[in-house]
């Protein structure tokens, strides 16, 4: 439940983005065929090995525009389906099924040339009609894709010949190409996509035994580099303990995302396992309602940020894993800067700022706290920290549904806790209508201009300015960045360690 909810919120927030027509992203960067970042290079490996992968996220169905969820992204993205572009495990965008693209000088027309000799698993060749079909599947009325609204700028999609796709936009959008990395290219003639597939990826679907396993088999007709293994089997668990037991008994080789910090001790200091601490994009926020007293005062927000020892909180929840962040931007975003010193942990500074803001004796407020981990723990910690500077916190525990209605829709809150999962999501601070109500016309303009940038450098520079400004204003208190922990058997290498946006490229995994 606690992983499903942030996903939902991610979707919610992605929808909200388009209210201002803002998105963000970077243009493609040239790069070699992207091999996932492995932890170690292996000497000899068995190319006929099957990799057993343990995960907590079983797909709901196999169609990512029909509510397939986080699980289908993990299993299929880049493995079974490919996009015109790929977001690598390091967060770079590179060409995949698009061989080249050209942008018109006004930035409104994109012409993509498709890679030749690509076939779907059914044997049909990849053509421009498939690309048009696939993009329109995401933007369709009944599409449940969280990315749907990022494509509101699309005016038309034309297919002058089999190898060319021309997309016209209504406004400049530098993240258009980045957004395309989420569009799976599907054979336009494919049927029953909820239970079967027809993609171009290095694996084809073997069998899906609901509630248990999903297997992917190497696709012999693949256009690119062959996978380093014969196939992979995703084993699905509903309980973190059962998943860890499977790893301990060699029933699975690797766990895509460890969610139970307590269990890590079993693998630490054990030569049979490797623990990697990758980059995550999930941030835990103490989000103030910047519209209402006392948090409409930037000094109060800064004081609260400085009064909480984020490091101690992170240590108590994740025991040494995870990262401290000084603003909304995680290190994997191109416009990251270390801003942890802007609002340092300093109780005396906090007291000063409170006095300056006219609250020398503190104040009281209610913290709306989602009922699932880690929010209640964090709330209790914050309550005790703020008590030291005279602020009295009342913890109000609410369900995910209540959060959505009370906080997100009705903005009926003073402060709340929430995890925000997506990458490149600093742009939300450019939307004054967003639930946290941060309203700075400069920031809104920078965010808008960033999306309309001509170059990535320009976009990066503008979003860095946004980043510094929101940190200086303590628009929210960014408590910490979650860890992204992968635990694997030591004979495994070449697996993705960052798992950005839940994807898990399996084709580079080697077993020796």
């Amino acid at each position: 439940m606690n992983r499903k909810t942030p996903w939902l919120i991610g979707a919610v927030i992605a929808v909200a983005l388009t209210l201002t027509g803002c998105g963000s992203g970077s243009g493609p960067e040239s790069g070699a065929q992207g091999a996932p970042a492995g932890t170690a290079a292996s000497g000899s490996h068995d190319p006929e090995a099957t990799i057993e992968i343990g995960s907590l996220y079983e797909p709901q169905n196999l169609d990512n525009t029909a509510g397939g969820g986080q699980g289908v992204t993990e299993a299929f993205n880049g493995n079974v389906y490919e996009g015109l572009f790929r977001l690598t495990d390091e967060g770079k965008v590179e060409n995949l099924l698009a061989e080249s693209q050209e942008v018109s000088p006004d930035g409104l027309t994109y012409t993509f040339k498709l890679r030749q000799g690509v076939t779907f698993h059914s044997g049909a060749p990849l053509t421009s009609a498939d690309v048009k079909y696939s993009i329109e599947k995401v933007t369709a009325d009944d599409s449940q894709s969280a990315r749907k609204s990022s494509f509101d700028v699309i005016k038309s999609i034309e297919t002058p010949d089999d190898a060319t796709v021309v997309v016209k936009l209504s406004d400049k959008s530098i993240s258009f190409v980045y957004n395309l990395s989420y569009v799976w290219i599907i054979n336009h003639a494919a049927k029953d996509l909820a239970t079967s597939e027809d993609g171009t990826g290095p694996y084809k679907l073997g069998a899906w035994k609901r509630g248990s396993t999903l297997s992917l088999d190497r696709f012999d007709g693949y256009w690119g580099t062959k996978p380093a293994n014969k196939g992979v089997v995703f084993h699905y668990f509903t309980e973190a303990t059962a998943l860890n037991n499977a790893l301990l008994t060699n029933a699975v080789d690797i766990v895509t995302s460890e969610q139970s910090p307590d269990a890590l001790a079993q693998f630490q200091g054990n030569d049979d396992y490797k623990i990697t601490n990758g980059k995550s994009t999930t941030k835990l926020l103490l989000a103030f309602n910047d519209r209402v007293k006392p948090f409409n005062d930037r000094l109060v927000r800064k004081a609260v940020s400085s009064a909480i020892d984020d490091k101690k909180l992170l240590d108590s929840i994740w025991a040494g894993y995870g990262t401290l962040i000084g603003s909304m931007v995680p290190p994997s975003d191109p416009w990251y800067e270390d801003l942890t010193s802007v609002n340092p942990y300093d109780v005396n500074l906090a007291k000063q700022q409170l006095a300056q803001a006219g609250y020398p004796d503190g104040f009281s407020f209610t913290l709306d706290t989602p009922s699932y981990d880690p929010h209640p723990t964090a709330a209790t910690f914050i309550k005790s920290e703020l008590a030291k500077v005279g602020i009295n916190v009342t913890i109000n525990v609410i369900t995910a549904d209540e959060w959505y209605t009370k906080v997100y829709k009705n903005r009926d809150f003073t402060a709340t806790l929430q995890e925000h999962v997506n990458d490149r999501d600093v742009v939300w601070y450019g939307n004054p209508d967003f639930y946290w109500g941060y309203d700075n016309p400069d920031v809104a303009k920078w965010v808008k201009d960033a999306e309309r940038s001509d170059t990535v450098e320009q976009q990066t520079e503008l979003l860095k300015k946004v980043n510094r400004q929101i940190a200086d204003d303590a628009a929210s208190d960014w408590l910490y960045l979650y860890p992204q922990i992968v635990v694997a058997a030591s004979n495994l290498s070449g697996y993705p360690v960052n798992g950005l946006n839940s994807q898990f490229y399996a084709y580079g995994i080697k077993k020796s």
Partner: protein, 317 residues
């Protein structure tokens, strides 16, 4: 007997219809519209209306019930909202795990409980009789998931004798493989179940041991084993069989917890997921199937009881 069978069957059918109607109503009483599961966040009113039309939640309750009952009568359990696949075959696939799990656990529990319960009663005055009785009391207090975790720690993580969870991808293609996967879950359920069964067997046996007819039969010169076999066993079996029926039904439903501990793709884990996803056809389908199973078990238990006990047959034949 025929008349009884007819009466009992009619009763079974009425129970099924009533249970079905109750299930249908209870699910409709839950807050929220099942159409929500078809929608993305921020759906327009038109999209909501379309989704409601698609799954029929815009119809009056009675119309919904008639159409649902019609589908049930033709054994059509509908299509999952979330998974977009028919529910019936999916349940059948899960029963491949849950039915053997239930039956094997039941069998093992009976094999454990009958001798232990008998000894606990026969030797109630000895220290081990008391100990067995006491242990069974303790067993009732221990939750199944705890026993499951204990067995995993000992037999899977430390001794590496059995897998810690999961079920073969090819189901029963290799029966030895499948049985190995079920060993610990079966032991878990059987241990928990036998604890309460032992108590019933023990008290039923104590009643028989105290009975006048047994003493009379012994006084007529019959040996104790013969007396027990001819008269004691049958009499003791009557209450135990009716309890067995209830216990079997409980095991079937209790598999939910154990399946989750052992990551088994059975009916229980399907139900939990269906509830999490507000997938009404899945929840309804599972509840209908399990209700049917429970009623059938009760039916069978009643029949067996009448076969054992001629006194019950007397009136109607």
């Amino acid at each position: 007997m025929t008349a009884y069978l007819l009466r009992r069957t009619a009763f079974l059918l009425v129970s099924l219809v009533l249970a079905g109607a109750l299930l249908f109503l209870l699910l409709r009483l839950l807050p929220g519209d099942p159409a929500n599961s078809l929608l993305s966040v921020g759906a327009t009113p038109e999209q909501i209306a379309a989704a409601r039309r698609q799954i029929g939640s815009d119809q009056p309750l009675l119309a919904q019930f008639t159409s649902w009952a019609g589908d049930m009568a033709s054994l059509d359990l509908g299509e999952s909202f979330v998974g977009k696949v028919p529910v019936g075959p999916e349940i059948a696939a899960r029963l491949v795990v849950t039915v053997p799990l239930t039956l094997l656990s039941f069998l093992l529990a009976v094999l454990l409980a009958v001798p232990v319960g008998y000894v606990a009663a026969r030797r109630a005055d000895r220290w081990y009789g008391t100990l067995l009785g006491g242990l069974s009391q303790l067993g009732i207090a221990v939750p199944a998931f705890w026993i499951g975790m204990l067995l995993i720690t000992v037999f899977a993580l430390n001794l590496r004798l059995f897998p810690a969870g999961g079920f073969p991808r090819d189901d029963w293609a290799d029966p030895a493989d499948a049985l190995t996967s079920l060993a610990l879950p079966v032991a878990t359920i059987a241990l928990v179940m036998s604890a309460s069964l032992i108590r019933y067997v023990r008290s039923a046996t104590l009643d028989v041991l105290d009975s006048d007819y047994l003493r009379t039969f012994r006084a007529l010169g019959s040996s104790f084993p013969r007396a027990m076999w001819r008269h004691g066993l049958r009499n003791a079996a009557v209450p135990v069989v009716s309890i067995l029926g209830i216990e079997l039904a409980t095991t079937f439903l209790g598999a939910v917890v154990v399946e989750s501990v052992f990551a088994l793709p059975g009916l229980g884990s399907m139900l939990v997921k269906g509830i999490e996803e507000h997938d009404y056809p899945v929840i309804q389908g599972i509840l209908v199937v399990s209700t049917f199973a429970v009623l059938m078990i009760g039916f069978a238990a009643d029949l067996v009881q009448r076969l054992i006990d001629p006194r019950l047959r007397g009136g109607s034949s």
